[in-house]
């Protein structure tokens, strides 16, 4: 019994040591673990010229310009975090989820003129999962414009979908 208690304390001590070691390591490297920098961070601490960084934020509504040069799509848009905005230039095909008001992450470098040249643009999906009918209804009634940011709190539109699962369970019951 005594030996077991000693082993238990040893296991607890080892786990605590490994845990704090991992915690301190992650803290120390936390600036490298972040996947992207926000426009205001990038402007406050500009990286060395030609250093590749990731810039993340929301695409500003009305800022997107698409053109085609020599059969290649050339895109220009602004990314903002609400405090600062940076103009991004990207030649290539944008992901399906890319739109104004969407969060995106651009890989590239900050130019001398303050613009950002991206070699790759990824769309970020947020934690909101909403059926198309609900999104259409929110847009139609003017409660939400996806171009200006995140969807409203789910509790405000959950009731709109509450009818849907009832009919779904019914069709399940009748179907199965």
């Amino acid at each position: 019994m005594k030996r077991k208690t000693r082993r238990l304390w040893m296991v607890i001590a080892c786990v605590a040591c490994i845990g704090s070691a991992a915690g301190l390591t992650l803290r120390a490297f936390s600036s490298n673990i972040v996947f992207f920098m926000a426009p205001s961070q990038l402007k406050a601490h500009p990286p060395a010229a030609d250093r590749t960084v990731r810039l993340g934020g929301m695409v500003v509504a009305g800022s997107l310009h698409r053109e085609t040069h020599n059969g290649e799509p050339v895109n220009a848009f602004q990314i903002t975090d609400g405090q600062a905005a940076i103009e991004v230039h990207f030649t290539g095909i944008l992901p399906d989820l890319f739109r104004e008001g969407q969060s995106v992450v651009a890989l590239g470098s900050l130019q001398r003129d303050g613009d950002f040249t991206a070699s790759e643009v990824l769309a970020k999906h947020d934690e909101t999962y909403m059926p198309k009918e609900v999104a259409d209804e929110l847009k139609r009634t003017g409660k939400w414009d996806p171009r200006f940011g995140k969807a409203p709190d789910a509790s405000s539109w959950d009731t709109m979908t509450a009818k849907k699962p009832a009919s779904d369970t019914q069709s399940l019951k009748t179907g199965g």
Binding site: C14, K124, E127, Y129, A135
Partner: protein, 253 residues
């Protein structure tokens, strides 16, 4: 889990486990088939498509349960390791051997389904963000555990080494869980939290909960089956070894 050693010895005894497993297995299997059938049918055919992800959102009905199970199985592995290291319980060692490959499959499926979703949605199969990387580390921890626990001629040594590895690797679990809060990642934050209301339509949340419950019961059934088989196998080995011993005894006499 089991606080006092007395309780531990009563319920974690292999014979008791076999009796418990014989009672529980039909219920686990039936529950898994029922909930998985309902959840998959609802999720794939009746749940609405997402307004921007379209039909791709349905990958979530497999991806989220696999992520949950990969973490839960690892937690089970860590608990078994403590039981094995501190109380030297033979059932905990057998359980660790049997949980490992199941958890590794869940982690692999989580990574694969996530990748299949990421390509059309994010525009990339893979990024090295904190969430994806920490889950990949979890997958490698599983592989390491599977290899280590079988690496020694003397099983007890492998089991001890693997238990230490599993326990040390458990630091990865909070990192996976909180990676999307501690650092900015490409992976979205949790839609379902203990503290707040879900940010997911109820029409998608219900099938997700059903498939999660179904997969969980199914994995429990698989682990119970594997563990019962392992107990029977070790008993058979012991019997064989004993009969061989008896034979040599009689020859000697």
């Amino acid at each position: 889990m089991r606080a006092t050693p007395n309780l531990l010895h009563r319920y974690a005894n292999p014979g008791q486990f076999l009796r418990l497993s014989r009672v529980l297995l039909p219920w686990l299997t039936a529950g898994a088939l029922l909930f998985l059938g309902a959840g998959v049918a609802w999720g794939l055919f009746f749940a609405p498509a997402d307004w921007q992800q379209g039909e791709t959102v349905r990958i979530m009905y497999v991806h989220v349960p696999m992520a949950w199970l990969a973490s839960s199985c690892y937690l089970g592995l860590a608990v078994c390791s403590v039981l094995s290291l501190v109380w030297r319980h033979p059932l905990a060692d057998l359980a660790a051997i049997e949980i490992g490959p199941v958890g590794a499959c869940a982690a692999a499926l989580c990574l694969v389904t996530g990748s299949l979703w990421g390509e059309p949605m994010w525009g990339t199969w893979w990024v090295w963000d904190a969430r994806l990387t920490s889950v990949l580390v979890l997958f490698f921890l599983y592989l390491g555990h599977i290899a280590l626990i079988r690496a020694f001629d003397e099983p007890a040594r492998g089991q001890k080494a693997a238990a230490v590895l599993a326990l040390a690797g458990a630091v990865d679990l909070p990192i996976i869980k909180f990676s999307v809060q501690w650092w900015n990642t490409l992976h979205q934050p949790d839609s379902i939290t203990l503290t707040g209301a879900p940010t997911m339509s109820l029409t998608m949340l219900w099938p997700l909960l059903l498939t999660t419950l179904g997969f969980t019961l199914g994995v429990a059934a698989v682990i119970f089956t594997r563990l019962s088989a392992a107990i029977h196998e070790s008993r058979t080995r012991q019997l064989l070894a004993r009969s061989r011993l008896d034979r040599t005894d009689t020859h000697a006499a």
